[in-house]
């Protein structure tokens, strides 16, 4: 059946309101939409790395999760969920479990690109039937906006401050989606909550119902770290995609598919200028910064087009 947001939204809610995530935060929007892609009859075990999502949704004695949920530590959501999936296989084999269960791990970029990369790589390589979702907000937001390897170049964070000598983060961001594609797992996708969230929903559905390991990298803007007006969340997601800062694509059994190619690719400055973390880039004399970021975005977009056989 073709995707329809109204229909999708009618599904029973698996992630309840009342959690403590900030207004204008991208993460809970992403989580709700991904869980909507589950078949109503399927039970899920959701794991979560330490981070904003975990501390704001499962504060004893309250939980926002209607499915089973486990938080272990910062760097091991993938290994923890892999362990639960292994137990499921054994218990199912013994006939102690009859129903179907889906396994999902959520981690922020700190818990995924950085401290959790090893556990993620291991779990994906071992082929556990699970989906790992990185909600990428480009810094350690839970501890107060410290730079991660997902932080874009020149972003002002509390450990890569835009100072008098060093203008924010010196290095470009790690391309985790590519790293995961090179694990040669059945399904890898990069997505964001844009428009009616069709792209996100359909990729979540594919990831959940593809046999074997799947990885989703989802852009999840953070109003505190990115310093934007909270109602602008969806606008920022859209600008990330329209500038090709965050291309929407998937890799199915090694085949690259670009899901959206902007007719008029916007300059990256459109994405940068609405965020306070890039404010210093717009001061006179700092034009080179925007140029360099534009070059990097263009280079990566061209490389992606090539991988998808589009150029």
């Amino acid at each position: 059946m073709a995707y329809n947001l109204k229909e999708a939204a009618k599904k029973p809610e698996r992630f309840t309101g009342g959690h403590r995530m900030c207004a204008g935060c991208g993460a809970p929007v992403v989580v709700r939409q991904i869980l909507r892609a589950l078949k109503p009859e399927d039970h899920a075990v959701v794991g979560c790395a330490t981070g904003c999502l975990e501390v704001s949704t499962f504060l004893y004695p309250y939980t926002s999760w209607k499915d089973s949920f486990i938080h272990n530590a910062f760097e091991n959501a993938a290994a923890t969920v892999a362990g639960a999936e292994a137990a499921y296989l054994a218990l199912k084999r013994k006939g102690k479990i009859k129903h179907d269960t889906k396994f999902i791990a959520f981690g922020g970029d700190g818990g995924t690109y950085d401290i959790g990369l090893q556990a993620l790589s291991g779990a994906m390589e071992r082929g556990h039937n699970m989906v790992y979702v990185c909600y990428d907000n480009g810094a350690y937001m839970n501890t107060g906006i410290q730079r991660s390897s997902a932080t874009p170049r020149f972003a002002n964070t509390t450990t890569s401050p835009a100072g008098k000598v060093i203008p924010g983060k010196s290095q470009p961001r790690k391309d985790l989606t590519e790293i995961m594609a090179n694990h040669h797992i059945p399904y890898v996708a990069q997505t964001a909550a844009i428009g009616n969230m069709k792209d996100l929903y359909e990729k979540a559905e594919k990831a959940l119902y593809t046999e074997g390991p799947a990885f989703l990298n989802v852009l999840a803007p953070c109003p505190r770290g990115w310093q934007y007006n909270t109602p602008d969340l969806m606008k920022i997601n859209k600008l990330a995609v329209e500038t090709c800062f965050w291309p929407l694509y998937e890799v199915i059994d090694g085949k690259y598919i670009i899901n959206y190619k902007p007719k008029n690719k916007l300059p990256v400055s459109e994405f940068l200028k609405v965020q306070g973390r890039f404010r210093h880039m717009f001061r006179p004399g700092n034009e080179y910064m925007i140029e360099e970021v534009q070059k990097e975005v263009d280079r990566r977009w061209e490389a992606l087009l090539k991988l998808a056989g589009e150029e």
Binding site: V45, F58, T63, N76, G83, A87, A119
Partner: protein
């Protein structure tokens, strides 16, 4: 009929795991425990067990996967040593506070650095306050027996805590000894099914595990965990009694060897206790009234029973195969002396010997030296030095 076999300590543990047939084994190779996952993965490859073997990319992920598996309602087991145990450190605490009765075979090896693959107890001693029950094993038979009892102890509803079964790396893990095994069916019956009340795979009763738990609740949760650890002492005795009826092999909180009329004793963990037994026998031929106390249950520490047992001796030497680097004594010594003080037992003079670090051989004459020293202390009532090193070049 029990089965007579000849197995190394690692094989004995692997056989116990095979007979227990856990749902998940997640492990990573590290000397000297590597053989355990090796043997076990053969059982998996040959379809002898129903277990999912998860060949993780690190010990951190081994313990993390065990937490996930046990929370999902499965029985999870692992094996490790030294640096592997250290890499699990963070998650040892999570496993204990989440009240997940995971079972681990710890094949004791010295903690780096310097890098050294041989035996001392610095690995498990470092984890002594992580909330895991710790059982120590003198030989292969004890390692096997402790493994068979571990699930029963940890999974008891009054306990629900993870259990670490320790044995000495290489000394027992790689030495082949005669051993008596139980039949598979008897193990199956003794260990029983694991059917936890709450688990992640219960679709009709979903749960959340591992909350952010702040000032309003953490203290109560820690208090419950401490109470569970206290309960473990009773449960260890109950399970050991049941095991005795099944096998005729008797285990308590600690073993007393020739202590009845002894004037002095040593307190020693694991394989060195075997060496000490030989020395006790030799010295007794000379009419010296010496004995040995070998703790089996180290966490929880049997404070009342240890203090009571030691109260009748004139002098005690506690031998530690790890140093606390606190300038005042090894961990076993600190526990023994604080037990004595807390229970108001001031009779015996107590000294400490740090020995065997990094796998340094401990010889019978080293142990004999200690016995002669405490016999001298018993005779004179004088202690020159409390905190000592045995068998080191100074």
């Amino acid at each position: 009929m029990a089965i007579r076999e000849r197995l190394s300590g690692n094989e004995a543990v692997a056989v116990a795991m095979k007979q227990i047939n856990p749902d998940v084994v997640a492990a990573f190779p590290i000397t000297p425990s590597t053989e355990i996952p090796q043997y076990f993965s053969n059982y998996v490859a040959d379809g002898i067990v129903d277990t999912e073997f998860v060949a993780v990319e690190s010990e951190h992920s081994a313990m993390s996967a065990c937490v996930g598996a046990q929370a999902a309602g499965g029985r999870a087991m692992t094996a490790t040593s030294a640096n592997g145990l250290a890499l699990m450190w963070e998650i040892l605490y999570v496993a204990a506070c989440s009240r997940l009765p995971i079972v681990m075979a710890c094949v004791n090896r010295t903690m780096s650095g310097p890098l050294n693959i041989h035996n001392d107890h610095s690995d498990s001693m470092g984890a002594r306050d992580s909330g895991w029950i710790q059982l120590y094993s003198e030989n292969n038979q004890e390692a096997y027996d402790n493994m068979l009892m571990a699930n029963r102890i940890g999974e008891h509803p009054d306990v629900m805590l993870p259990v670490m079964v320790c044995q000495d790396g290489f000394i027992t893990s790689h030495a082949i000894e005669n051993i008596e095994l139980l039949e598979d069916e008897k193990v199956k019956e003794f260990v029983g099914e694991y059917n936890p009340k709450l688990h992640l795979l219960d679709k009709d009763n979903p749960i959340s595990v591992g909350p952010l738990d702040l000032q309003a609740y953490t203290f109560e949760h820690k208090r419950q965990q401490a109470e569970a650890m206290r309960n473990a002492k009773r449960v260890v005795q109950e399970v050991s009694e049941e095991f005795y009826k099944l096998t005729g092999r008797k285990y308590g909180l600690f073993e007393e060897y020739k202590t009845e009329d002894a004037e002095v004793v040593t307190v020693i963990l694991n394989s060195t206790a075997g060496t000490a037994k030989y020395v006790v026998d030799e010295l007794r031929k000379e009419g010296k009234k010496v004995g040995l106390i070998k703790p089996r249950l180290y966490r929880p520490f049997p404070v009342d029973e240890i203090a009571n047992a030691l109260s009748k001796f004139k002098a005690v030497a506690v031998l530690d195969k790890s140093d606390s680097f606190n300038g005042a004594g090894g961990p076993l010594f600190t526990d023994v002396t604080s037990a004595l003080y807390a229970k108001g037992v001031f009779t015996p003079k107590v000294v400490n010997y740090i020995y065997g670090l990094g796998g340094r051989d401990v010889r019978t004459d080293d142990i004999e030296f200690v016995y002669n020293k405490i016999l001298e202390i018993a005779a004179t009532g004088k202690v020159d030095s409390v905190y000592n090193y045995l068998g080191v070049r100074e």
